[in-house]
């Protein structure tokens, strides 16, 4: 974990709105090696915008600023859009929440994977096909040749998300950002997809940023957890030490979910303090 892959210092994302500027991300700092980092928060906490800013997918009207936003020593904010494009999908990849919306509906799954690969590497059609099929195999799709020719609407959510993971991994990225990769899936399928993701990340020694609203899921999957509230990091903690979390927000989040075998009526609710957002 010695080499730092990504360094984020004082990241801010500001959106202009009719009622003035809204800061969605307000000074987020963390660094990432070849490890699994979870970013957790509720809707509106800025967790997704943090991921998108790293990926370079912030909407054009918004402004991104940071003291430092560096990937492998490269300053992401000063490089040209062209260089940024070369990184995106190649060395930095992103998995989105819902395969129903994030896959191209009028292109077969195989063609989409091949397209990603051929955008970034000079490979022949035949070789690209071979590698796409091998990748589909790696995400435990049983009949890759059949799935290769299917359209996204012809596969289930779990299969679609595996195809998405295959597409993102085919270029062999060093950093993977997964934004709620399993929230749209059924619980039983969720675990399959997480297992696949876990294995591939470990095998390839990638850095992973796992963005989710589910603190318990993230803590079981990641090495380290960054907890965000109102655009800020309120706590950074090792996943194994989550039980000793200091911040009342983190503890509240852990506490407020019903658990099987722990009867609590009524459930404890979060008592939001204005100073958390200060």
């Amino acid at each position: 974990m010695s080499d730092t892959l990504l360094e984020v210092d004082d990241l801010r994302v500001t959106f202009p709105t009719r009622t003035g500027l809204v800061q969605a991300v307000r000074g987020v700092s963390f660094s990432l090696g070849r490890e699994r980092l979870g970013i957790v928060g509720e809707s509106g906490s800025g967790k997704s915008q943090t991921g998108r800013a790293i990926m370079g997918l912030t909407p054009p009207q918004a402004e991104v600023s940071a003291k430092k936003l560096a990937f492998d020593g490269m300053d992401l904010l000063s490089i040209s859009p062209r260089e940024r494009r070369a990184l995106r999908g190649n060395r930095i990849a992103m998995i989105l929440q819902d395969p129903k919306y994030s896959l191209d509906p009028v292109m077969t799954i195989g063609r989409q994977i091949v397209e990603t690969l051929r955008t970034h590497e000079k490979v022949s059609r035949a070789e690209a096909r071979e590698r796409a099929l091998a990748m589909l195999q790696a995400v435990q799709i049983r009949d890759p040749a059949r799935v290769f020719d299917l359209y996204p609407h012809e596969v289930s959510g779990g299969m679609g998300q595996r195809a998405m993971i295959a597409m993102m991994l085919v270029t062999g990225p060093e950093l993977m950002i997964a934004d709620e990769p399993t929230s749209a899936l059924d619980v039983t399928v969720q675990l399959d997809v997480l297992n696949i993701l876990d294995k591939l990340v470990a095998e390839r020694g990638m850095g992973l940023i796992f963005i989710s609203h589910d603190l318990r899921l993230v803590s079981s999957f990641c090495d380290r957890v960054v907890v965000m509230y109102a655009g800020k990091v309120v706590e950074q903690i090792k996943a194994s030490e989550l039980r000793d979390a200091q911040h009342p927000y983190t503890r509240g989040l852990l506490n407020c979910m019903p658990r099987i075998g722990f009867e609590r009526h009524p459930l404890p609710v979060l008592d939001r303090k204005p100073e958390w957002a200060a």
Binding site: I260, V269, L270
Partner: protein, 248 residues
């Protein structure tokens, strides 16, 4: 204890797809009953069939001793109200909260609208200040509270809850679940609640039915589930999945 909702051999068919394949269940008066299963298991379809939103092709549904016919009469909806999953989709975007709450009162010709609306908003923990707002001016949790107020304003005895908190953040979910428990206790309501989350169902319900592919897998009490005394493999899988990710 009499059966409040009795469903016998219910079949729902969309074109050629059998969404429900002969499901039976019995919910006692004052009970909170849960339906669990993954998407496509037919749990929501069952609720929708009771309210007349899904076509029943065979089987019977009895509510409070009355057998439901092909069409539902108005009286049923005084007794049975439904809260939907997505509070962003279930509230009219161009109506104020006040107008939203007046609609059911107007349909059923209930007097005293003014007072009822105030009381309903109070009951769900929204003050008078929310009365003339639009849905887009409310947060997800507040919207779901309005949806619950709209269901309660007719003073029903049964609430059908279709994933009432799955679109909400965990902390807001806790607030809405607490609210539901509280109104149930105060009004002695019967709940039939759908969720994909076993933890929520065991928290809210005394008995539950596990569903898969339009069929009942098994019926359990909450304490059987907590004690892992289940017989079907599918339920065991669900239980394991609800414990979170474990690295192998």
């Amino acid at each position: 204890m009499t059966a409040c909702i009795a469903v016998e051999g219910l079949e729902v068919v969309f074109d050629r797809f059998r969404a429900l394949k002969g499901v039976s269940l019995e919910v006692r008066e004052g009970e909170s009953y849960g339906l669990v299963g993954e998407s496509g298991s037919g749990k929501s379809t069952l609720l929708r069939a009771i309210t007349g939103l899904a076509p029943v092709s065979s089987g019977t549904i009895t509510v409070n001793g009355k057998r439901l016919g092909k069409t539902r009469d108005k009286a049923l909806y005084r007794e049975v109200q439904m809260v939907f999953q997505d509070p962003y989709g279930s509230l009219h975007p161009r109506q104020t909260v006040d107008r939203l709450l007046q609609e059911p009162l107007a349909i059923h010709g209930m007097a005293d609208g003014e007072k009822r609306i105030e009381r309903a908003l109070d009951e769900v923990g929204l003050g008078k200040g929310f009365r003339f707002r639009y849905a887009h001016q409310l947060s997800g949790g507040q919207r779901q509270r309005v949806a619950i107020a709209r269901a309660l304003i007719l003073e029903p005895s049964v609430l059908l809850l279709d994933e009432p908190t799955s679109a909400l953040d965990a902390s807001v979910q806790a607030e809405v679940l607490n609210l539901l428990e509280e109104v149930r206790r105060r009004r002695k309501l019967t709940f039939l609640m759908v969720s994909h989350d076993l933890a929520i169902i065991t928290h809210m319900c005394e008995r539950l039915m596990v569903m898969q592919n339009g069929e009942a897998v098994e019926t359990l009490t909450a304490s059987q589930l907590i004690g892992h005394r289940v017989s079907a493999d599918y339920t065991r899988n669900l239980l394991r999945a609800s414990e979170g990710f474990v690295r192998v």
